[in-house]
Subunit: 121 residues, 2 copies
Amino acid sequence: MSHSVVNLAEKALRIQDTWSPRVVAQMNDVQFKLVRVEGPFVWHAHDDTDEAFLVLEGALEIELPGSSVQLGPGELFVVPRGTRHRPVAHAPCLLMLVEPRGVVNTGDTGGEKTAENDRWI
Amino acid sequence: MSHSVVNLAEKALRIQDTWSPRVVAQMNDVQFKLVRVEGPFVWHAHDDTDEAFLVLEGALEIELPGSSVQLGPGELFVVPRGTRHRPVAHAPCLLMLVEPRGVVNTGDTGGEKTAENDRWI
């Protein structure tokens, strides 16, 4: 855990891969994670926690049961706990996730897109 | 509490006053608050929680015991719980605070800059 100033753009330059969140800061038990995404993710839910998405670059669609939301830069959306969702980036997108430490990116679904957790940059 | 898309710039347009945080979203018990700041705040601490500052526009100095940090747009800093600090904006600045619901802006110091809490826009 670091208490230095975190420049989000500088941190993002160090991320090349997609769907692999990197922790950049922590506030109590809540982590701030940067992640590049592109294409469709997997449908999943987090039964124990809400999950906040803030788009920094690009655009993200979050599919929800029966609907979807569209996020552009500077737009924030909170997926309520237990709500199934599927992020889909139709073009490259840089996100900041804000969620408790220990949340697995694929939630209850798992599979090959499951990323290593608690990975700091 | 709202689970719609939050456009931070649109929300910020509705804030004219300074040092009065407005809640725009909540993730579990953690609130995302927008606040305009200008000039010096009061020295204070939050004994029970860390506090995350993300500068959206302008610049912020956070004075700490014996040091200070400088934040520009897209820079994030977490003040550890119990650490005395004084935010100082040498020019108008727009911040996003991320902290648990119920945190009082002036912490243990109180006084005339104490803002109404849990005020949503």
